[in-house]
């Protein structure tokens, strides 16, 4: 079996095979601490978090077609939950992770009335929520906003570096695994219908509001969990550090760079961008947002399908060159590799 | 004189909805295109106007090639289409709709043309300040035709002008078509009512699945047993 047909078989094959691939990938990555020093391990943790965040964004943005422009809020809320929970209430890490995820999901549940309206309301409301949280947390004494006696929260790292490495690797596995399962579940089919034609979907009885809300809650809960776990790793949490707009920017860029609406997209995008970051502009920190913004504009304008669509386009060409018979209809819906024309 | 040859076109790459059609309006004032639902009639007309996602073949108007032009350039050269379902501007008034039809004309020309259309359709004059979206189907059809005529087109394309209208309005519209041709405009007509379409036209083309299956003088087609059987329900 050659590479092309293997890739195709995995994409269209049963969920079990995809999860198996994920497990193999995680196992290989789990060997990294044997050969890597602390610098690289820290870097890997950032890569895991970025991929995890982007994959979460991809669930509602890529698969659902509803872009969230305040997704960083859920990470920030999680990080604050972690910081406040551990410092003020002395809670253990697993507890604050659950709390962070639950808080984020609850916040996402507030969007139900927004989901009843046209898509543009969602996009703008998420942006509004980000501004609201940034301002309110900055001014609220309970969260030690700027007006208070302290500028932020300092945490003792509760795990050794390897511990964090495996924690975030495990979380990444859970996130990607859950997305693989969700995408092939009833929710995934509903999302596919919604993204293709929402009016049609609801007219044939798909309960669009319900599925959008569930998806958004899942997609918000994971960044909350990641944020809470990230707080002790970062050791210092403030509005500036965890509510920065570049966190949202990162999620979007990584997803569309790799390919929105594909499971593999955020993983490929996260790895590729981290490599580029390391060799090209890790040193241009003050231009970071500018470069990321410019990349987003370039990809959406020139190649909206991202790397994944380049790859699958190549696979499709190889396959049709190999056997010019009509392609058998694949089980499951075909992943959307290129955006449809409206 | 509109001439179309080897025309192919469609919505998705590689799928031709219109597959190798020719028509030549030279000899006739009114030409009708017949075909069952989904035969590709609307797609063909949209293709002539430059609105299909892809198209190949030649479209010529008095020797000038139109097939590479954008829709607005084709319209400016004198090919005007009244779309299926009329396509009036619902939030613009009747007068504003007509002015858009004469887009680019100077104010005095606009005024005389508008007067001409109001004479043709007194009903529109009565409702000149009305929002188009609030008008009846028949009124909207008149408005759509008047809007197209504002530019003094050389070719007027009518896509199922009788669709969804009361019989008395349909009669009016079919009475109108020969009068339009007296003003020097050639008409390309798609019509569900094949009998009427053939009566009013001199030439006709029957298309099926994007290809021409029959064509010729309308009088001959009216007598053709295949047409009588499949379109007129006679034998």
């Amino acid at each position: 079996m050659n590479f092309v047909s293997m890739a195709y078989a995995i994409r269209t094959g049963p969920v079990r095979n995809q999860l198996l691939c994920l497990a193999v990938f995680l196992l290989v990555v789990a060997l990294c601490p044997l050969v890597m020093n602390d610098y690289w391990l820290r870097l890997m943790v950032f890569v895991f978090v970025n991929i995890g965040l982007a994959s979460s964004w991809n669930l509602i943005g890529g698969f659902g077609g509803y872009a969230s422009f305040g997704h960083g809020v859920f990470f920030g809320v999680g990080a604050f939950a972690g910081a406040v929970g551990m410092v003020r209430f002395g809670l253990p890490l697993p507890a604050v992770m659950v709390i962070g995820g639950a808080l984020s999901a609850a916040l996402a549940a507030l969007f139900v009335p927004v989901f009843r309206q046209k898509g543009l309301y969602f996009a703008l409301s998420t942006l509004a929520v980000m501004l609201v949280f940034e301002t309110v947390l900055q001014r609220w004494t309970f969260t030690r906003g700027l007006r208070s006696y302290d500028l932020g929260w300092t945490l003792a790292p509760s795990l050794p570096l390897e511990g964090f490495f495996y924690l975030f690797l495990g979380l990444l596995g859970l996130i990607v695994g859950s997305i693989i399962v969700v995408v092939r579940s009833k929710i995934g089919y509903a999302l596919h219908a919604i993204r293709k034609d929402e009016v049609l979907a609801s007219s044939i009885g798909v309960r669009t509001t319900k599925y959008k809300a569930i998806t958004f809650m899942i997609s918000a809960a994971w960044p909350g969990v990641l944020g809470a776990a990230f707080a002790p790793f970062l050791a210092y949490v403030s509005v500036q550090s965890v509510f920065d707009v570049s966190i949202t920017l990162n999620m979007i860029l990584i997803t569309i760079f790799g390919g929105a609406g594909t499971v593999i997209g955020p993983i490929v995008g996260g790895i590729a961008l981290s490599i580029i970051d390391q060799i090209a502009w890790g040193n241009f920190l003050e231009y970071h947002r500018l470069i990321y913004g410019a990349l987003i504009v370039a990809i959406t304008t020139l190649h909206p399908g991202g790397l994944a669509s380049v790859f699958w386009g190549w696979v499709e060409r190889r396959r049709s060159a190999a056997k010019p018979v009509p392609r058998p209809s694949a089980p499951g819906h075909p992943p959307t590799s290129a955006p449809r024309r409206a | 004189m509109l001439k179309v040859s080897n025309f192919r076109g469609g919505y998705r790459k590689g799928v031709a909805v219109v597959d190798g059609l020719q028509i030549d309006l030279r000899q006739s004032a009114v030409t009708s295109i017949l075909g069952s639902n989904g035969a590709g009639k609307t797609s063909f007309l949209r293709g002539i106007c430059g609105l299909l996602p892809w198209r190949t073949g030649e479209v010529e108007l008095n020797g000038e090639r139109l097939d590479r032009l954008a829709p607005h350039d084709i319209a400016r050269l004198g090919v005007r289409m009244v779309s299926e379902g009329r396509g009036t501007f619902p939030t613009l008034t009747v007068e504003e709709n007509l002015k858009v039809g004469g887009y680019g004309l100077s104010a005095p020309v606009l005024a005389t043309r508008m007067e001409r259309e109001f004479n043709r359709f007194p009903r529109l004059y009565e409702r000149r300040g009305q929002i188009a979206g609030m008008m009846s189907g028949g009124e909207q059809q008149m408005l759509a035709i008047a809007r197209a005529m504002m530019s003094d087109p050389r070719v007027l394309i009518l896509d199922e002008p009788s669709q969804g209208l009361a019989p008395i309005i349909v009669d009016q519209i079919f009475d109108l078509i020969p009068r339009l041709t007296q003003e020097g405009v050639q008409v390309l007509l798609v019509e569900q009512d094949v009998g009427r379409g053939l009566e009013v036209s001199e030439q006709a083309v029957v298309i099926e699945k994007g290809r021409a299956t029959l064509s010729g003088p309308s009088r001959e087609l009216l007598a053709d047993p295949r047409v009588r059987e499949s379109f007129l329900g006679l034998s």
Binding site: G65, L110, L127, A128, I296 | -
Partner: protein, 288 residues
């Protein structure tokens, strides 16, 4: 209470100006322009730059700032949005989000990230009393100018061939093309109008309050709130929405500064639940 009403209304004119373009682009091109707030800020800073750096008189600087912003809008349309607006809405949203970031970061590189304000010496009397409320005369003049600008936009859209073409494209793109209207050019002009009035809003706001690049998303969100309150797709709705929003946001930051943004967002949710068509009802359907 009267204070809040008066000051809120005076600011509201500017919010309305900012929202017109956002609403217009949404209705005509069918896209949400996340870079709209960046255009408002750009207009304010450009005006301030022209006035301070080159000593251009304010009125000229304002017009220069507005036209410059309009031009930026048209360029964004031609180079970027024109290629993507027919794709699914997601991509245009993401794209304009990226454009907003780029414009803002470039602005920060060029003009710095600090807040700037343009204080004008007008020679006007400081103000007068309206009942118990002091009304600053400069703010009143700015309000009057914003109403005049709104009227000019209404005339352009309602009475000129240019405005008719824009409305025709909004109502039915294909019919507009079949009538000889160039869709791409019309969209560029729409973006130009949108940018020009956004720039005007910025140019006026910078004389009353500080403006800095980081504020661009607030302007985008505020424009959105204004048209949600007033009603999507209606220019008159944007005017009413702007005035209401002015009072609302001024009141919120006056009475509860800590949670002011949360209050305005709460109002948005209330509108979405109870009156999604806004105060002035819905105009033509917006596609996305």
């Amino acid at each position: 209470m009267e204070d809040v009403l008066v000051y809120g209304l005076l600011r509201g004119g500017i919010y309305a100006l900012a929202a017109f373009g956002f609403s217009l682009v949404l209705g005509v091109i069918g896209i949400v322009n996340f870079a709209h707030g960046a255009l408002v800020v750009f207009g304010g800073l450009l005006t301030q730059y022209l006035a301070v750096k080159f000593g251009v008189p304010y009125a000229a600087a304002m017009i220069g700032g507005a036209l410059g912003t309009g031009l930026l809008g048209a360029v964004i349309q031609r180079l970027f949005v024109a290629r993507t607006f027919t794709l699914e809405p997601l991509m245009v949203l993401v794209q304009t989000f990226g454009i907003a970031t780029v414009v803002t970061e470039l602005g920060t590189l060029g003009w710095g990230s600090e807040e700037r304000m343009l204080r004008l010496k007008t020679g006007l009397p400081p103000g007068f009393m309206l009942g118990d409320t002091f009304v600053p005369s400069f703010d009143l003049v700015v309000f009057a100018v914003s109403l005049v600008s709104a009227a000019v936009l209404f005339v352009v859209l309602g009475r000129t061939e240019f405005g008719r073409a824009i409305r025709a494209c909004r109502d039915n793109r294909e019919s507009a093309q079949l009538s000889g209207i160039n869709l791409g050019r019309t969209f560029e002009k729409t973006m130009f109008l949108s940018g020009t009035w956004a720039g005007l809003a910025g140019a006026m706001f910078v004389t009353l309050s500080p403006v800095a690049p980081y504020m661009h998303f607030s302007w985008t969100v505020d424009s959105f709130l204004v048209i949600t309150i007033g009603g999507l797709g209606s220019m008159l709705g944007a005017l009413v929405g702007g005035l209401v929003f002015g009072v609302l946001s001024f009141g919120a930051s006056f009475y509860a500064p800590t949670i002011a943004p949360a209050i305005t967002f709460g109002v948005l949710l209330v509108f979405l639940v109870f009156r999604p068509q806004g105060l002035l009802g819905a105009g033509p359907a917006i596609r996305k």
